[in-house]
């Protein structure tokens, strides 16, 4: 992957990031495992 392609993919991700992250399964979200451990 060239720099231009890497940057393009990153820009596309940044544009869609909010909706993308929200669509991910719970276990992939940041802090999920920490919260689960704390709840034990």
């Amino acid at each position: 992957m060239q720099v231009e392609d890497a940057r393009t993919a990153m820009l596309i991700y940044r544009k869609a990031k909010k909706a993308w992250e929200a669509s991910l399964p719970q276990h992939t979200k940041k802090g999920y495992h920490d919260k689960k451990e704390a709840a034990k």
Partner: protein, 148 residues
């Protein structure tokens, strides 16, 4: 990637580039091919024979793989059709830590469920034409490294 073997159909890694969330270059390395390159695919790859010579700074694949592994470890990896790149580098990355623009469902809808090309996504989402063989037209606010 460049082509090796008969008619250059088989692909091998020739250049590895990694940028961070802000578009700054973390790694941009040419790789010394282990077998004769039969198709440099210059029109698409931008790679010329001189780029892959050790005397011009091209590095052994093993060395580049180590760098990539160190950079992406425990980080969210963003890219397009990353399976191909990771396979070529003999690396694995957790799926939960991967954001692949080729497999995100709303993006695939643009190609009637098929894998959209990065070129198509760039046109649709960024309004720019890439991979035209001309100067990069990707808009980016931070160009401190001068590579954009």
């Amino acid at each position: 990637m460049v082509g090796v073997g008969p008619e250059g159909r088989e692909s091998v890694v020739a250049r590895v580039s990694i940028v961070n969330f802000h578009g700054q270059v973390l790694l941009d390395a040419y790789v010394v091919p282990k077998e004769p390159v039969t198709d440099f695919r210059t029109k698409f790859s931008g790679i010329r024979p001189k780029d892959l010579r050790p005397e011009n700074g091209a590095r052994p694949l093993e060395e580049v793989i180590k760098d990539v592994d160190r950079i992406i470890k425990d980080r969210i990896l963003v890219g397009h059709a990353l399976d191909n790149d990771l396979q070529a580098l003999l690396l694995k990355h957790p799926r939960s830590m991967t954001r692949d623009t080729a497999y995100y469902k709303p993006f695939r809808a643009l190609s009637s469920g098929r894998t959209p090309s990065l070129k198509l996504l760039a046109e649709q989402f960024l309004g720019v034409a890439i991979q035209t063989g001309e100067h990069s037209s990707v808009p980016w606010g931070r160009r401190s490294d001068g590579q954009c």
